[in-house]
Symmetry: D2
Subunit: 81 residues, 4 copies
Amino acid sequence: MKAIVHVSLKPEVLDPQGKAIARASAALGYAAVRGVRQGKVFEVELDERDEARARAIVAELCAKLLANPVIEDFRIERFEP
Amino acid sequence: MKAIVHVSLKPEVLDPQGKAIARASAALGYAAVRGVRQGKVFEVELDERDEARARAIVAELCAKLLANPVIEDFRIERFEP
Amino acid sequence: MKAIVHVSLKPEVLDPQGKAIARASAALGYAAVRGVRQGKVFEVELDERDEARARAIVAELCAKLLANPVIEDFRIERFEP
Amino acid sequence: MKAIVHVSLKPEVLDPQGKAIARASAALGYAAVRGVRQGKVFEVELDERDEARARAIVAELCAKLLANPVIEDFRIERFEP
């Protein structure tokens, strides 16, 4: 199965490049854009049929390889078959 | 409302850093990990209540500011209130 | 002229993806690799011939758009004609 | 020693996020900014005193783990002691 994982800067951490995109959107005339935050998405392909075990593996990977828990949050969005 | 957007390398485009994470996972003993692909996720905050209009704006932003359509795919994952 | 700018995580900020690359290097047999840190490089093309003025502009851009000064350091590496 | 490596999109590959930063710069009043390209910089710490050997290792890492040669160029900028 495949796990879809989001890694985002914690809400209190400034995201200057997200801000640059928001400013560029405004400059292009998209007045409705209030803000942009940029994060990472990981698609993790797993040779594992049990979702609980897959979830445990992916959570460990997040903590060890994918995210910096001091400045980032991670969330397993979903599993795909 | 808030749009959640994924920007991913097209499937035929090599992702060496995703591969590095997969190899590091194997080296750490996570034998179930078959592959990792890394992309970007954008959270776009919009001052717009109509989902169809929000979708149109976000699709234009993707094409102009968020993704390189030659090497990347984008997908509006969902809208949040 | 063109400014080459490095934006790097501050030394005390963990870089899990750099670590993943270092682990993958070891797994591939590159025993000499002790560590890897990943940052961003920006090439800023400027319509400005005076290096002091160019430097002042680029430093402001770093502070406003390119780096998060809480977690990142920036350095203007050099100017190219 | 430490190797400083730049990985940049090939000149013919569009960089929408670099463009967003350039547009945001203009929107902030920095009229001299003509364009911005964003790449990655890697600092590779090596347990190797011979620069020729270090260079060979880092070039292999670039090709295998750091860059996608189809869309990116890499360059070893310099070695630091």
